[in-house]
Symmetry: C2
Subunit: 367 residues, 2 copies
């Protein structure tokens, strides 16, 4: 990324852009879909997903089981869409395929235009079963678009755009792609592309000029060139390790983190053992322990960046991110510092117990 | 900018953000206004200017004398606004204060909500007299907002947000601020802030949560952290040289470029000698010389990035940018290569004539 500036209208620029578009297509595992790179954070990708494909005032169905689902719904409301929040979904639950299916089956007027799914809910550490959700939508015979926020999943967890029948997917540059924030990467199915003509007013996030210019190897407006070079390298790194190896590494490292948490022992937020996230673990602090103070102490005393509890989890939980360029040693350091911060906060635990549990798991399993 | 990633929700993050907001205020020369940093390119800033302050379907007045004015108007139309293009303005002209005044005076129903002015039209190399436009609006006694695109001016040309009575200003990170694209910097007058409640649907570019979070030293969604550090350094560089010295340097270097062009001799696009731009010079190629081929040859043979002629100027003009971290030697190199590319293209000129004219001007004037 650390390069001299260059002209994004030069005759050489397409040599950067065209292969990058192809590699991005591989990231999403799409052959029939179209991909786009918007200079924005993932929040901008949410907006692009909605405005490009849904008519003004259109209805969307949202299982809201975490902060990022809530924020996506909030964006939709502010843009004038009607958001049907699926009832009975609690934070810590994955989005329930059967109840999504039932809600669609009950929508006999086909008013719901899209189902919004956060693939990996970064606030709770819960992963959705997108494939099962798609199967439920198909059983309901409903034509709603399936939109997926893959910000903390794509590039680190298994994701199959075409195979799973996702219509619009969004990811950001700052998680599995190991880059700074600033690039919203998106994939659109042919069905989503067909919906463009029925979209809402849009300009910056308009997909049509983006696809037209990308085809020529350019962008409709000034792109962030360092981010494009960074993405090229990130995708090369993922290809070098192999995407399946990356997914397996994340799964194994996450099991070690969960083994550590179980040894302390502290409960995790995720209530479904089948839905635990392999990129982030949300840990509940005992009653009487202010997680915000624990996080601030870990940061100032030990230079450790823990994720905060968000929304209703503020002060009650902290999060360990385990995504991207990461190995056992980096995580052992983090787990050891978490133990020290927990002890500082007055949590009764055996120092080294979590570290030992992670060590044991990683020694007993092959990398 | 080349730093390890960090947590944008950490207790230390406000130490970066709060002084940056204050320094950005100084860049715009505003004390009463509010500033914001959106993770987007300047095109996103155009959208934020419109959607935050104008009701859906509202009318705007646009003197359209270049590609960037045309694109801003295009964004407005796509977002559902009605764009009144001021008649009789040609490419190469600055926006005419008297005719803007007359158009507002004729708008007895006060239907026009905003006047959109590109301060420095990068396609034609023409600078608008924003102060005179404001005076005309005041004489007309019209309440429209004055919106200014300062992408290729703020940070290199004279700009006074409060003094000139600008309501919304936009700049990008990639010109006078010498950074990659990816940050839209904006300033809003108290009148623009008061208009927020009458704005259009918006989410990513919604100013209210941005201002609320900035006040606390945070952002409503993930910012591009390297860009924030880059901005801090860019603003420090401008402060170190002194903003008046930066403006004077751009003026002097631009005079040298124009002296070179006059020696070749080739006409420039700007038709008003009072309105020549000090950050970019647009040069018309003689009939029969394809400027696009000249630009491609300069790039492939001499590694020189010239700006292309845009819109109706495609193939008929090329542009020399002279903005940012730049001195005489860098420009002499560029001018010398332009002469070689012109000669390759078959333009009759005395080799070294432009270089000599620039040398003479710079020797005869004090830096």
């Amino acid at each position: 990324m650390h390069r001299a500036s260059e002209d994004h209208r030069s005759v050489a620029f397409p040599e950067l852009v065209r292969p990058l578009i192809e590699e991005t297509r591989r990231l999403f595992r799409t052959e029939v879909g179209s991909v786009a790179l918007f200079p924005a954070s993932g929040t901008g990708g949410w907006e692009a997903a909605l405005t490009n494909t849904l008519p003004s005032g259109g209805r969307v169905l949202l299982p809201c089981a975490g902060q990022f689902a809530a924020l996506w719904g909030d964006s939709a409301r502010r843009l004038g869409y009607r958001v049907d929040v699926l009832p009975g979904v609690e934070w810590g639950d994955p989005p329930p395929p059967d109840r999504i299916e039932a809600a669609l089956a009950a929508d006999s007027g086909a008013e719901i235009r899209a189902v919004l799914i956060v693939h990996n809910e970064t606030s709770t550490g819960v992963t959705a079963d997108v494939q099962a959700i798609r199967a439920g939508m198909d059983r309901a015979g409903h034509g709603a678009l399936l939109m997926v926020d893959g910000v903390s999943s794509i590039g680190s967890l298994r994701y199959r755009h075409d195979e799973w029948g996702v219509d619009v997917a969004v990811t950001g540059s700052q998680k599995g792609l190991m880059l700074p924030a600033g690039l919203a990467l998106m994939a659109f199915s042919p069905k989503a592309i067909a919906a463009l003509e029925h979209g809402s007013p849009r300009a910056y996030f308009d997909l049509a000029p983006m696809l037209a210019q990308n085809k020529l190897g350019f962008f409709p407006y000034t792109p962030s060139i360092p981010m494009l070079y960074g993405l090229r390298e990130a995708l090369a790194m993922l290809a070098e390790e192999g995407m399946q190896a990356v997914i397996t590494r994340h799964a194994r490292l996450a099991r070690g983190v969960r083994a550590a948490v179980a040894a302390w022992p502290l409960p995790i937020c995720c209530r479904d053992p089948q839905a635990v996230s392999n990129t982030v673990t949300t840990i509940m602090t005992p009653a009487g322990i202010d997680a915000s103070k624990l996080i601030a102490n870990a940061f100032t005393r030990y230079d450790l960046a823990l994720g905060a509890g968000l929304g209703p989890l503020a002060g009650k939980a902290f999060r360990i991110g385990h995504v991207g360029d990461l190995n056992e040693g980096m995580l052992l350091g983090a787990l050891g510092l978490v133990e020290m911060a927990l002890a500082d906060a007055g949590v009764a635990l055996t120092p080294g117990s979590g570290v030992a549990a992670a060590q044991q798991l990683w020694r007993e399993t092959e990398a």
